[in-house]
Amino acid sequence: MTAPVLVFGWGNRSRGDDALGPLFVEQLRDALGGDDRVEFFDDYQLQVEHALDLVGRERVLFVDASLTAAAPFEATTLHPSRDATFTTHAMSPGSVMHVFRDLHHAEPPPCTLLAIRGERFELGEAPTPAALEHLALAVAWGREWLATGARHEHVEAAAHA
């Protein structure tokens, strides 16, 4: 049985603030304490086969570190898109949704991108204190997102600062 909600974070836990996506997944999973309605994944990068992970979902939350998002984080409604990441090893979530659409000839489930502001991404570094502060606020937002449904259909940033 596929869980109706998917939370998918990506990044590398050993590259400084790149760990924000996997750490978000870990902390939100722990905070939730087990819920069959929600499935949690993390991976290094988004790839074509992740389009198959969207099958049967009611909604999906993608989570990544961002160099450009406003601190502490931005939540944005995603749409299928064809951007320059389609043929790279690191696809964008919009491009994954586009692959879903083309493979299944149907619209993907509603997807939200949570972009958590990070600063440093060097191998072997721990996440920065500022990034961890952003992460704590993002996890609190994630709990609300799970509890209240997809009502965050506009860019949210400064309101959470």
Binding site: R82, T88, D102, L103
Partner: protein
């Protein structure tokens, strides 16, 4: 001494074009081309603009952590690092050879990794160029274009990729950050349920892998003039082979052939790699240049990866792939195939071989039962070499009595191909750029030559907001003429104020 077109004879007054970073390859690379006033190519270099200090990341850690930690060096082929480190640590502990069950489980994991990595590269990274042509609309040259024009191919690619990921999951324990291989063996058997799940689809995957070889072969047959000449140059080729000369991607002895196909190095132990090869530093790039000591830097460099492996072995020990190998060898009419684009064909032969190996291993009851761990007398040093998707991957460790790693040396696959990638770019520049105005299609020729090697220039760092393409033009007097950035959405932004990166 410098290689032809590596360093311009008179760099002053040349016009500079930089492609930074190269799109659709892993990590951050940049190509700089110096042109004279007549647009003739005077210098071409592939720069690697980041250095990650992999070895320092590992040194000081307890040895048992290493097979897990090294997966974080690369988000693209973490399993290759996982297994190369585990093989090296087997030696450190004197736990060599591992049990038959452990070796078969590792092989299953490894061939799953090779298969899914190759499938991704061919179906999704390179097929847009190969199916639509090198000068086609850039908006078509992506997987969306492929899905629309060839929905069957794209879907097969996704499903092959997914199957390979499942093989990794059931052997490594998780989709990512797996812990299956440990120093001295493996920590779990394959479950009957997982085996049955994979066996259900294995024959279908073998069939689709065969289809992939056919596609690659047809591409060569349809345009042999282009496929045989594009980015072509003669080189040595190096890989592991099994002791009897068979292709073996998990373990073996080191073999090298010269450009005419003659074997000049064979049967060398992986533990003695430092006696055979050394790495040279050049001041204009962070990536080193390995070569065979016996031949020296000028003629001792070599290619690794599918093109080398398919031609270096005497045979492939699975029937369908062996038949395809014979056809591939026949294409060279008695000479080795040196065409850069033949990497794609060879890569698909390895996909087929990997699927045959996976299917056969799944039917082996030893994966479900049997001893998982070996013990021995600790030596404190060990080398693990594996044929990763992109080529020969070397892990070398020393471990102190306190169990901490005191020395780590890694030579990753893409580093072995450094000189070859530079030669491929120079070959394309000679053929397609001399005396012509620069267009996006022409610049893409350069990228296509690099992408054929499926390089992993850095590993796994990413963040939303990075610019994927940065092109710089400088006039003969060194002044900045133009600077165009391409955003992740494909939008071109002209920005003369942005930094232009490394000097050529």
């Amino acid at each position: 001494m410098s290689f032809d077109l590596e360093t311009a004879a008179a760099p002053a007054g040349l016009r500079r074009v930089a492609i930074d970073p190269v799109s659709r390859v892993e990590g951050h690379g940049k190509v700089t081309i110096l042109l004279d006033a007549q647009n003739r190519v005077q210098q071409v270099r592939l720069h690697i603009v980041e250095f990650r200090g992999f070895e320092k990341f590992i040194e000081g850690r307890p040895y048992w952590e290493v097979p897990v930690m090294v997966q974080r060096l690369c988000g693209i082929c973490p399993v290759s690092h996982h297994l190369a480190a585990a093989k090296a640590m087997d030696r450190v502990l004197g736990a060599h050879p591992v049990t038959p069950t452990a070796e078969k489980l590792r092989r299953l994991m490894h061939y799953g990794q090779v298969m899914q990595s190759h499938a991704l590269h061919f179906f999704h990274l390179s097929s847009p160029d190969l199916l639509f042509g090198f000068d086609s609309d850039v908006n078509l040259r992506n997987i969306v274009g492929v899905i629309r024009a060839h929905p069957d191919i794209a879907k097969k690619g996704v499903m092959l990729r997914k199957f390979g990921q499942e093989v990794i999951r059931v052997t490594a324990g998780k989709r990512v950050h797996g812990t299956g291989a440990v120093p001295g063996g493996m920590n779990k058997h394959l479950s009957i349920a997982d085996r049955d799940l994979l066996l259900r689809d294995a024959d279908q995957m073998v069939e689709w892998a065969g289809d992939a070889v056919t596609i690659a072969k047809q591409l060569h047959a349809q345009n042999p003039a282009l496929y045989d000449s594009f980015g072509s140059f003669r080189s040595n080729m190096l890989s592991l082979v099994r002791a009897d000369g068979a292709m073996d991607l998990y373990d073996g002895v080191i073999r090298a052939r010269d450009a005419s196909g003659k074997i000049f190095l064979d049967g060398a132990s992986d533990q003695s790699y430092l006696d055979l090869m050394e790495e040279e530093v050049r001041p204009w790039t962070y990536m080193k240049f390995p070569h065979l000591k016996s031949l020296g830097r000028d003629v001792g460099w070599y290619r690794v990866g599918p093109l080398a492996r398919v031609q270096n072995c005497d045979f492939i020990p699975s029937p369908l792939a062996e038949a395809e190998r014979r056809e591939f060898i026949a294409w060279g009419r008695g000479e080795p195939v040196h065409a850069t684009l033949a990497y794609h064909w060879a890569r698909m032969i390895e996909v087929l071989h990997s699927m045959e190996v996976i299917r056969d291993l799944l039917a082996d009851p030893e994966l479900l039962d049997g001893d998982l761990m070996t013990t021995g007398e600790r030596t404190g040093t060990g080398v693990g070499i594996i044929e990763a998707p992109r080529g020969t991957l070397i892990h070398d460790y020393r471990v102190g009595d306190d169990d901490l790693v005191t020395m780590c040396n890694l030579i990753v696959s893409t580093t072995h191909n450094n000189q070859a990638m530079n030669e491929a770019v120079r070959s394309v520049a000679r053929q397609f750029l001399d005396g012509r105005e620069l267009t996006e299609g022409l610049l893409n020729h350069i990228e296509i030559a690099i992408r054929a090697y499926d390089p992993c220039l850095s590993c796994a760092t990413h963040a939303l907001g990075r610019m994927p393409l940065d092109v710089v033009l400088q006039g003969p007097d060194g002044t900045l003429v133009d600077h165009v950035l391409r955003s992740p959405e494909g939008e071109l932004v002209r920005n003369l104020a942005a930094p232009v990166g490394l000097p050529a």
